[in-house]
Amino acid sequence: MPALLGYGSPRVLAFVRAWSIDHADRAELRAIRAELRGLGASLTIVSDGGTWSFRPDDDAERTTAAVYPDHLEVPRDRDALFVLDADDHVRFSYDAGGSLAGTLGEALAAAGAAIAAKPRPTMYTRREWTLTCLVAGFALAVFPGCKPRARSRARAKEAHVPPPPSMTTTELDVNLRVNGEPRALRLDARASLLDTLRERLGLTGTKKGCDMGQCGACTVLVGGRRVLSCLTLAALADGQDVTTIEGLARGDQLHPLQQAFVAHDALQCGYCTPGQIMSAAGLLAEGHATTDDDLREQMSGNLCRCGAYPNIVAAIRSVKGGA
């Protein structure tokens, strides 16, 4: 999986001077993963030896750079941990006083407890954070494609070692209209539309199944047409209308397909359901399905491991008939 630094809501940044994934013990990694799942967060560990990106359900990935707000007060001689929300507000900060190595799981648990107890940001007043880019080991190299602003210039000055060319990446501006709402985003070029929806915009209704275009769980409408968001680079959706399962209902009024899936018991575990419904919405708009065989053929891009297919077909048929 790509490391989408700066993504996730919330995301956790841990500055741990002496830490390496090669020396971390399994129990600590398990604890980190469990706490991230609880928080629904991504974690970036910045250490002298490198930068690692964690997401709850993916393997940790070593990356070159961490992206964080330049107003973040990172202590130089002690370890610290910060939890940032989607707008980069600091929701929790923890100054370890010494080393965090070996106790990251506990620090994350404390973060979770503190956030649960104080649902509003209290550590800092709201500010417009400017994003700047600093590298592993606090300042080894400038993250390319990103211009450090005034406040970070002092640190950026130390950052004179360019990254190896093979790791060059770009960020770019991507404008989407998601469920009717304009979203101006600055994204890593590698970001999929799926990860952008789920981790940047917090729209977790769209599901990640296979992440390789074979299951249909990530189906959304782009420009009114059903596509697989896992294989869509967010950059390729620039300027487009994106509709996710969250955008289908009108207030409390479910979309007819949503009502039909409930009425026909067209799901068991429900994981594929948002993709099934979005795909069905695309199918109805296309208007190429007449018979049940057509429905089955034209829904073949959406797999259901529970085998709810007969009821899925019945649900779609009922809406098609009523349309």
């Binding site: 070029a189 047409r225 294989l231 680079l233 390729l236 695309g282």
Partner: protein, 335 residues
């Protein structure tokens, strides 16, 4: 995913020059490229987005049609002119992938899609000559069910996965490109190369050479009344072919005046069988004749243990397609 720089091409020349130097890849729909990049199989340093180029139209071209390389599969498959003049193309397109993928995938990208050989797609497999030239071919003594029996070499038996390309091979399509040395037109049969000693080479395009159009010549529109695409796979939909056949005929009563036969799912490139076509021309449509042509088509096959079933399967697929295209009785279908 390996990092890359992302460039939006302002025009065709800009796209070509942005992709000519270094390790670059064009992206249109991205359905194959993004998948392979995420798997770590492809790691281009630069991605050139060509979606802004005006190459998405399907146009009348003097009785034939000209399809822009950026046209989506869905739009081509349901285009009235395509359905009227080249229904084989529409049928092949709708036999491939899923509706979501067909809404994303471009025609140009389809031509250059990479094989689904599981060893190619798994960087954990050390031996794949296509992925790492000179590393060997794990499929020669491994899983072979999805692999080719035609056009193989001791260095590669990976199948070309496209459905569309099978129809284009049958209909003598012409591929128009723009590259660092200007524009050129390539006969469809010349576009893809056999693996031979260099499985890493799959086509004759130069770095930075962009497919701009696919032309279906007016001369091939005469097959519209008697053509058929038959695809056999492990499930009824949304699966790659184990074997597929595109047949296109010109009939005079019950006599076959002209014939085209192409195969998919069984060959290392979209496979045209001129020898099988010759068996048919001048004879009355008849399942026994079809079976003879099918046998000739598979004459050059070199099957391995794991894919020997594909020889009779492909033969029966050809026979079936011919029966359907001519409206013959299906009673004598098995060769």
């Amino acid at each position: 995913m390996h990092p890359f720089t992302f460039v939006r091409a302002p025009d065709t020349d800009g796209a070509v020059s942005a992709a000519s130097a270094g390790d670059a890849a064009f992206v249109a729909g991205g359905t194959n490229l993004v998948d392979l990049m995420r798997l770590g199989v492809m790691q281009p340093r630069r991605i050139v987005d060509v979606n802004g180029l005006p190459l998405a139209d399907v146009e009348d071209a003097g009785g034939g049609i000209r399809i822009g390389a950026l046209a989506k599969h869905t739009d081509v498959a349901y285009h009235a002119l395509v359905r009227e003049r080249f229904p084989l193309v529409a049928d092949a397109l709708l036999a491939g992938a899923s509706p979501q993928l067909r809404n994303m995938a471009s025609i140009g990208g389809n031509l250059l899609q990479r094989t689904r050989c599981p060893y190619f797609r798994d960087p954990g497999t050390p031996a794949c000559n296509k992925r790492v030239p000179g590393s060997g071919c794990a499929a020669q003594a491994g899983y072979q069910r999805s692999h080719a029996v035609l056009g193989t070499s001791e260095h590669c038996i990976a199948t070309h996965p496209s459905d569309l390309c099978v129809a284009l091979a049958a209909l003598d399509a012409i591929v128009h490109t723009r590259g660092p040395n200007g524009a050129r037109a390539i006969a469809f049969g010349e576009l893809h190369t056999l693996p031979a000693d260099h499985p890493e080479r799959e086509h004759v395009l130069a770095p930075g050479e962009l497919v701009t159009h696919v032309e279906l010549p007016a001369a091939s529109a005469r097959f519209a009344k008697a053509s058929r695409y038959v695809k056999v796979r492990d499930r009824a939909s949304f699966a790659f072919a184990l074997a597929s056949a595109a047949v296109a005929l010109v009939m005079d009563g019950s006599v076959i005046k002209d014939a085209r036969i192409a195969l998919g799912g069984v060959a290392t490139k979209p496979w045209r069988s001129h020898d099988a076509e010759q068996i048919l021309v001048g004879h009355a449509a008849d399942p026994a004749l079809f079976a003879r042509a099918a046998n000739v088509a598979l004459q050059p096959a070199h099957a391995r243990n794991g894919n020997a079933f594909k020889v009779p399967l492909a033969q029966r697929t050809i026979t079936r397609a011919l029966i359907l295209a001519t409206g013959s009785s299906g009673s004598g279908g098995a060769p």
